[in-house]
């Protein structure tokens, strides 16, 4: 009797594909997770929030003040809801969180502007969440410099340039267009793969055991390696489907630049997919039931999400967290994906990130093979 038979492997692979097709929940997860995560991280979770509710207190009422408000509207960051009746009312809106900003334009704004006195406008911001207001404030300071250029023609043009005609009383470091998606979407590819690959395969063997089909499978001539690889292969195809989904979205929805070679990225992704699948298979051999398998998958998923540099900048983490993160495949795949897509990295650039993934995979696979054998007794 042969030690490894392609025929038996084929049997397991075909069976897995049919089961995958029948299992609506798993199938929904394969497509649903990338789509939901794309929408969440691509649109909902945005570190560059726009359309922040803004209230204007215009004591001047002149055309220049109106021009500033118009420019703020056009910037997209401010949604000027209404003009507050009084200072107290405006402050209350801010207090209640109904307004993110209150813009105060002083009484003699136009007069002082034309005299070249650089009048000040005061922007009061609800700064409870600095991340939310930061980009808007930054954009406004840029805006103030050039906003009145067209409104100050002829002899007034001397007010252009320099420090600008108006002084803005909130200052923020210049950062005009902070496009989060460029950073998030390539990383999302790795997050999606980690999540689905691990969970789906974690269930694969546990399900066989829970439904009693494992006993039948063990009684046949099929070998552990044939079962394990037979369960992994179909999901490699699934992984590539997900990569294509995310990359398609990156291109069509988010205009993420693709500087490097996509072929290289696809090729390297194989290692990452197999690494995650072997984690799932290992959990599957350790878990007693499907619930446990899912729990284990989450234990793996959370540190991957938090310590890989996807959520927080890797270099900002303490040393121990960097050490843990350095063991996880996602950390390295993130660098590969961002490197290839954003910086146009070639194989030589990403090679140092490949061997930690390979090492991780080998260790995990060894545990899986050992554990699977033991289930015979």
């Amino acid at each position: 009797m042969s030690w490894f038979s392609p025929g038996r492997l084929r049997a397991v692979v075909l069976k897995e594909f049919v089961q995958m097709r029948r299992d609506r929940a798993t199938f929904a997860m394969i497509v649903g997770i990338p789509v939901v995560q794309l929408l969440l991280f691509g649109y909902a979770i945005n570190s560059d929030p726009r359309h922040l509710p803004t209230v204007v207190l215009d004591a001047d009422g002149g055309p220049y003040a109106r021009a500033i408000v118009q420019a703020m509207r056009r910037s997209g960051y401010f949604e000027v809801r209404d003009h507050a009746p009084s200072e107290a009312a405006a402050r209350e809106l801010l207090q209640l969180g109904r307004a993110q900003f209150v813009l105060n334009i002083p009484v003699d704004f136009s007069r002082r502007l034309l005299r070249g006195e650089r009048p000040a406008v005061l922007l009061e911001a609800d700064a409870t969440d600095p991340a939310a207001t930061g980009p808007a404030l930054a954009a406004l300071s840029l805006l103030m410099a050039g906003v009145l250029d067209r409104d100050l023609p002829g002899p007034l043009a001397e007010l252009h340039g320099g420090a600008g005609p108006v002084e803005l009383l909130v200052h923020r470091h210049f950062n005009p267009e902070n496009i989060t998606q460029y950073n998030t979407v390539p990383g999302l590819m790795g997050v999606v793969l980690t999540m689905t690959m691990v969970i789906i395969t974690a269930l694969a063997i546990t399900r066989e055991r829970e439904r009693g089909t494992m006993e039948n499978l063990l009684a046949t001539p099929v070998r552990p390696l044939e079962v394990l690889t037979g369960k992994i292969l179909p999901y490699i195809a699934v992984g590539y489907l997900q990569i294509s989904l995310v990359l398609g979205a990156a291109r069509l929805l988010f205009d993420v630049p693709m500087e490097g070679s996509l072929a290289l990225l696809y090729a390297v992704a194989l290692l990452f997919i197999v690494a995650n699948l072997s984690v799932g298979i290992t959990f599957s051999t350790l878990a007693k039931n499907q619930l446990q398998a899912v729990q284990m998958a989450f234990f793996f998923f959370l540190p991957s999400l938090l310590l890989s540099g996807f959520m927080f900048p890797f270099r900002g983490m303490p040393g121990w967290a960097q050490a843990v993160g350095g063991c996880l495949p996602l950390t390295h795949f993130l660098r590969i994906a961002r490197g290839v897509l954003l910086k146009g990295a070639g194989f030589a650039d990403i090679a140092p990130e490949l061997w930690p993934i390979a090492l991780f995979m080998a260790a995990v696979m060894a545990v899986a093979l050992k554990r699977y054998r033991r289930t015979l007794d």
Partner: protein
């Protein structure tokens, strides 16, 4: 005799518990061998050792002429094992399940083998139905078809008819007899007496040890049991009264009668004569049935086991000062 199963002293322990204790078994070619015993007596464990799912801790022997300890992989190729619980894929269709199993065994001319198997079991018309949607009886037929598809020489059936209606059970047994007539050897566990009586020979185990073996009449005769059937009014109170009498080992309700059995015929006869003097009950000695014998064996084994366990406990405590 051409022995398909010939094992001696097969032992299996889980933790500190001996589940199968030095079991011997010989089964000849074409024989239907019944394997009986209470739940947890080690029947399933023994069968799993025969088909290589578990490795015995002690013992030796051959299955299909191959060493049970060292040639498990080769044994598996020629054995069909039907598990106690339905263990095919409920989310695969009937045909897909059979096809999967046929591929695993590398059955030559697979398509034809699957088609023939569907035909033979009368499942051809429903081959696209998902296995999970089948009723208990059909699931059982499918499971049987799946373990026959690679033409095994030995069939191991672990409680194949649990939860199956009487008609389907009878058809199942007719099928088993046909297969055995064709030279297939069958080892089957069951809790049903009527099924035990349809086996060529039976073995009875409890607490991992063999208690009786032979044809049904042999097992009954060797038990040395005397049984009386008691009929008449108010049987529950009679039963309570009889249980208190000396020499009556078991009093069991059988429909409208009571069966009183014992291995101490003389003492029981005296007790019964005393109890029914001038009463309204009828009392007649009958030939004990297989069930009477098994209940008696089970009771004796339990007493032995408990005494053994108690003895070993005292032994363990004895050395302490």
């Amino acid at each position: 005799m051409d022995l398909v199963i010939d094992v001696q002293g097969i032992t299996k322990r889980f933790g500190g518990k001996t589940v199968v204790n030095g079991l011997d078994m010989q089964v000849g070619r074409g024989e239907i061998h019944g394997f009986l015993g209470p739940n947890g007596s080690g029947k399933t464990t023994f069968i799993r050792m025969l088909c290589g799912l578990l490795t015995p801790d002690a013992g030796s022997g051959a299955c299909l002429g191959l060493d049970v300890l060292r040639q498990q992989a080769a044994i598996r190729l020629q054995v069909g094992y039907m598990t106690q619980r339905f263990s095919l894929y409920e989310d695969l269709s009937i045909r897909e399940n059979l096809d999967f199993v046929a591929r695993l065994y590398a059955v030559p001319d697979r398509r034809a083998a699957v088609a023939e198997s569907l035909e033979r079991l009368g499942l051809a018309g429903r081959s696209r139905q998902l296995a999970g949607q089948l009723s208990g009886g059909w699931k059982q037929r499918l499971a049987l078809a799946a373990c026959l598809i690679h033409r095994p020489k030995l069939l191991l059936l672990d409680e194949p008819t649990a939860g199956v209606d009487p008609k389907a059970r009878r058809e199942f047994w007719d099928e088993i007899h046909q297969l055995a007539a064709g030279g297939l050897t069958v080892l089957v566990t069951t809790h049903y007496m009527d099924e035990a009586e349809r086996c060529h020979r039976i073995a009875y185990i409890a607490y991992g040890s063999l208690l009786a073996r032979g044809t049904v009449p042999e097992v009954i005769a060797r038990a040395g049991l005397a049984t009386w059937e008691i009929g008449g009014p108010d049987l529950p109170r009679t039963a309570a009264r009889l249980r208190a009498l000396p020499g009556l080992e078991q009093v069991v309700a059988f429909g409208g009668t009571l069966h009183v059995s014992t291995r101490d015929r003389a003492r029981a006869q005296a007790s019964l004569a005393e109890a029914f003097r001038g009463g309204a009950q009828r009392c007649a000695e009958i030939t004990p049935g297989l069930e009477d014998v098994f209940i008696s064996l089970m009771g004796a084994a339990r007493d032995n086991f408990e005494r053994g366990a108690a003895a070993s406990e005292t032994r363990e405590e004895a050395p302490r000062p």
